[in-house]
Every structure is written in structure tokens, then in C-alpha cells.
Amino acid sequence: MSKKLAVDDRPEAPLFEPTGTHVLKAEHVTQTFLDDSGNETWAIDDFSLTVSGPEVVGIIGPSGCGKSSFLRLVVGLDQPLAGTITFDGEPVNGPDVRRAMVFQNANLFEWLTVEENIAFGLKANHLYAEMSYKIPRLIKMMQLEGFENAYVPQISGGMASRCALARTFVLNPALVCFDEPLSALDAFTRAALQDQILMMQQQAHTSMVLVTHDIEEAVYLCDRVVVMSPRPGRKIGELAIDLPHPRDRVSEEFVEYRRQLLDLLHQGGGQRGISASRG
């Protein structure tokens, strides 16, 4: 794709089509995984979660509490050992474009340019007609102009993360899972990316399940935060964050929510690996 795509501003071609109401329901999910030495490890134990409508749910917990394993079940990369996961009433049997995932460290295809990475999902689903009006707009929204034809090794970590956001949202998903998407970025870039994630969520009205190590990130982005125990991961608490956006990271309420989450984690004995005072 060497030629530059023209921006198509037809009003009948919205960037995000309404995805309707949708409910993700995970009930009594139990999952094991094989660790590096081939031993079967108990990752998640009897975990239930319901995400309905455009809602941002955070999952925090210590390292190895099965947060990432849960996301893999939600997008259909793995099947649970026990329990059920349904999306809009249908059991999750495999990947589907309505359930998207933003991976750790962007995970872009380095043999493709920024533009080609964003186009990947559309091409894979033969949605060629959508390329001309979606890609230039997303490139603009994600501030990647001028880097359309840059290869992944040539762009910064923050740009790679923005490109990963664009390639996820280009498919108009109803639910986006984030697997510690910003953990490798510096504090400044991370804060900017958090605002961009919120902006995308508000424009596309998607639901989000955000797995993070970072309590501040959870309080900043989420409507509701679920706290998990150390392995095997169980739900040990839940906290609704009732703050209007944009949220002030140093306001009293914000700090109070952080403190409550930290307390929940301590009750579960999961203070290891948690960066409570980041930012």
C-alpha cells in the first residue's frame, strides 16, 4: 500500500457503527495453564464476571493471578476447564471480530508499515471497502500522520501502542480486552495513551476489560474494578469508581479510591508486584 489513501468524509460512512447492547457473562470459570517447565498450574478458580453495555471493567491483582489467562478465554484463544463464558447469550468457542484484544507491548507485525498493520484485520476479513475511509481517520485520531509508511522498528513505543489501538478499533469491536497494554511505556507516554484509550472508548461505545498492574491506571480508566487474589485467582472484591471523566489523578476522591483498592489487595495477601504509587 504505497499510495496514500484519501480521507473519505462521507457522513454515511461512520468510523464506528453502533454495536448495540452486549453482555459478556463469565460464570464459575476455572482454568489451568502449563508453565515454562510443563507443569500444570492452577490459574483461575471459580471466577465470575459480567460486563454489560459500554462499560470499562478493570481487573487488578498480583502477578500470575490468572488475569491474562482470563482475557484469553474471553477472546476465545483458550477454552475454560470448567465454567461458561457467553457473549450476548452465545457461548464463546473461538475468536470473533466483535471481541478484540490489545496485547502487551503492542505486538505489531514488524514486516508491515503502520498503515498496513491497521489494515490487517480489514483485509483478513475481506472488508476492503472500509479501508479507504477508516484507516486515514484512525491514523489522524491516533496522531500517526507522516508515519503511515514507516515500519514498526522505526517508530517509538508510544506510536506502536497507538497503532495497536487503531488496528483493534478499525474492526468496530463491541468488547476490547487490554492485556497490560501500557506496561512497557514511560509514565508520560502512558498517561497520554490512557487518555487516547478513553477517547476511543467514548467514541466507539465499546465495553472494555482492562487487565493491569497499575492501580492508578485502573482508577483513572475504569467504571468498576475487580480485585483478584494471588494464584489461583479468585475474586476478592469489587469497587465501583463513581467519578466523572476526565478524572483528576491527585483529587481526594481519586486517592481515596486508590487507597480502597490497595486495602482490598492487602486483604487478599496480594501486595506483591503491585505498583501502588506509580505516577
Binding site: V75, P95, A124, R167, L171
Partner: protein, 341 residues
């Protein structure tokens, strides 16, 4: 670019460590570039001044002309290089090597034609080697064409079959089960060992040659391609699956592009051994081509033709490898390979 900077900026800025390329050559660079010219002059003086004693009465034509042409073309490049920094870097870098090359040729001239220390027919003088090509232009042309056609067909077959088995083995466990033993046992056996069997089994000696050349490419290509596809980063495959890509789409749009560096590494290895397979099959089966010609010339004791043919090989194989690296650089804009040329 550097001298276009305004002077004011230079006076206020701190001393920089950036190397500024001078427009004109320094005296040191001129001396270094002139070194090969001196060596060529000495070589010319020796070959024109000393009598031809082995064989006595031999008349030189090509070597003096070669030296004069070299002197003029190199000298002209060096003069241009005095004013063009890029060419100057190139010539000053290689000047010692070029001087050494002409020095060695001059020493060979002294040891053969001028003294007879090195004996005929095995050690021809530079003049004899240089005359082989222009005096036998037609046969060199025909044999080179025959070699290139054979190599081209064999390499094409090898690449096609290598891609096929490599992709199959990389993606399908069943294909891997059946092809892996073939690859592991047949692949490492050198072409020379296969030759008698290939000649016996194949309908023509040319088909046997094609088989050996294709085998030389097929082995590294299927090995590297299949192992590269099997070791494709799982996270990349999962990212594609989440975006709704089918297995086939992932194979051709994720696994295969990710394997491109390995494919080129395999082609470099495979091409080198296919050159060997070409020469071996031409020497023992096929009755045409430079491999056959080199054998034929040596059996007639015409070693100057043998040396000239080796010279042709050097140039042709160098050009093919350079072409492959150019193709790689064009295809792999996104990554620098570990293999350098």
C-alpha cells in the same frame, strides 16, 4: 552539505565531533590513490623491458594492453575522486588491495614468461590467461549460456519444491512426519555423492544435473522455511486470530512474511552449493557448459583456459550473489539481515 552551513552558526556552536567531508582530496589521500598507478607502471615496465624467455620468442599482446587500459581507467577514476568525496572514500579504501592485485600479477609474470620458474602448462603467464577469453569468445559464450540455463532451471525447481515442502512441513504435522526424514537424511549428503545415482536414475544427464542443482537449493530452503514457520512468534499468530484471520491467511500473511529473513539466508546457502552442483554435474554428465569446458580444457593441457574460466565463474557467481542481496534489501525494508555481503 556541511560547507553550506552559515558561518555564524559555526562560530557560536561548540566544537562538534562530526566528520566533515572535504570537497578536495588531501595530499595523503592523493598518495594513497596513486599507489596502484605506480604498481601498474612498474608491472608494465617489467613486462616490456624484460625479454620473454619461457617460451622464448613468445609475443605479448593482451597483458600490456590490459595494463594500459587498467592504468587509464583507474587513473581517470582517481582523478574524478579527487573532487568527489564519495568515490574517493571507495578508492582510498580499496587502493592497497588493487595495488596488491597488480603486484601479484606482475610477480606471476616474472615467475612464468620472464624466467620459467613456474612451469607450463600448469602455470600460464598473465598474457596467456588474458588471451583465452577474447580468442575463444564463441565457445565461452555458448558454454556460459548453457551453464546459466541449467543453473536457472535447477534453481527454479529447487525454489519451487523447497517452498512447497517448507510450507507444508511448517504448517502441517502430517507433512512434517513424512518429509522430515527425507530432509534429514537426504539433505546433508553432498551433490557429488548423488551424481552416479542421479545419472543412473534420471533419463538424461541433463535431468540428473537439474536434480542435483535443485537438491542443493531444496534442502536449506525447506529446512529453514519449515523451522521458521513452526517457530513463528505465537503472540503474532494469536493477534491475527483475534482479528479474525483464518489459518490459511495466517500462514501466508503472518508466518511466511516472518520467515522471509530465513528464506534469504537459505537461498544464500543453497545458491553457493548449487554452484558446486552445477560444476560437478557439467563435469561428469552434461556435455556443455563452463564446468564441462573447464574439464575439457584441462584434459588438453590448456590451463590458461582453465584459469580464464575460473575468472568467469568468479564474476558470474559474484554478480548472482550481489543480485540476490539487492533483492533481499528491497523485500526486507523492515529489517537488516544478519548475513552481510
Amino acid at each position: 552539505m556541511a560547507d553550506a552551513q552559515p558561518a555564524a552558526v559555526q562560530t557560536v556552536s561548540a566544537p562538534t565531533r562530526r566528520v566533515v567531508q572535504r570537497r578536495l582530496a588531501t595530499a595523503r589521500e592523493v598518495v594513497r590513490m596513486a599507489l596502484p598507478l605506480g604498481v601498474i607502471l612498474v608491472a608494465y615496465g617489467l613486462t616490456m623491458g624484460l625479454p620473454n624467455v619461457y617460451p622464448a620468442g613468445y609475443e605479448e599482446h593482451y597483458y600490456p594492453v590490459f595494463l594500459v587500459v587498467s592504468f587509464i581507467s583507474y587513473g581517470a577514476s582517481a582523478v574524478i575522486a579527487c573532487f568527489t568525496p564519495k568515490l574517493r572514500n571507495l578508492i582510498t579504501y580499496y587502493s592497497f588491495l588493487i595495488a596488491a592485485l597488480f603486484g601479484i600479477v606482475a610477480v606471476v609474470d616474472l615467475l612464468t614468461l620472464k624466467s620459467g620458474v613456474m612451469l607450463l602448462p600448469f602455470s600460464p603467464s598473465p598474457d596467456r590467461v588474458l588471451q583465452a577469453l577474447p580468442k575463444n569468445l564463441a565457445s565461452y559464450g555458448q558454454n556460459l549460456a548453457a551453464s546459466m540455463v541449467l543453473l536457472g532451471e535447477g534453481v527454479a525447481i529447487g525454489i519451487a519444491t523447497g517452498f512447497l515442502t517448507g510450507l507444508l512441513m511448517g504448517w502441517s504435522k502430517v507433512a512434517n512426519y513424512w518429509f522430515a526424514p527425507l530432509l534429514k537424511f537426504i539433505g546433508p549428503v553432498p551433490s557429488a555423492a548423488w551424481l552416479p545415482i542421479a545419472v543412473a536414475i534420471m533419463p538424461t544427464s541433463r535431468a540428473a544435473g537439474l536434480f542435483l542443482i535443485a537438491l542443493a537449493i531444496w534442502f536449506p530452503l525447506s529446512l529453514m522455511l519449515s523451522s521458521s514457520i513452526r517457530s513463528t512468534d505465537k503472540r503474532k499468530i494469536e493477534a491475527a486470530r483475534v482479528m479474525g484471520a483464518t489459518e490459511g491467511y495466517i500462514l501466508f500473511h503472518v508466518a511466511l512474511p516472518a520467515a522471509v529473513p530465513s528464506i534469504f539466508d537459505a537461498l544464500f546457502m543453497g545458491l553457493s552449493s548449487s554452484f558446486g552442483a552445477l560444476i560437478i554435474s557439467e563435469q561428469l554428465g552434461v556435455k556443455a557448459g563452463l564446468g564441462w569446458y573447464i574439464n575439457w580444457a584441462s584434459s588438453w593441457g590448456e590451463y590458461y583456459k582453465v584459469f580464464a574460466t575460473v575468472g568467469v565463474f568468479i564474476i558470474i557467481f559474484y554478480l548472482i550473489m550481489t543480485l540476490l542481496f539487492k533483492v533481499r534489501d528491497a523485500v526486507m525494508k523492515w529489517q537488516q539481515s544478519t548475513v552481510r555481503w
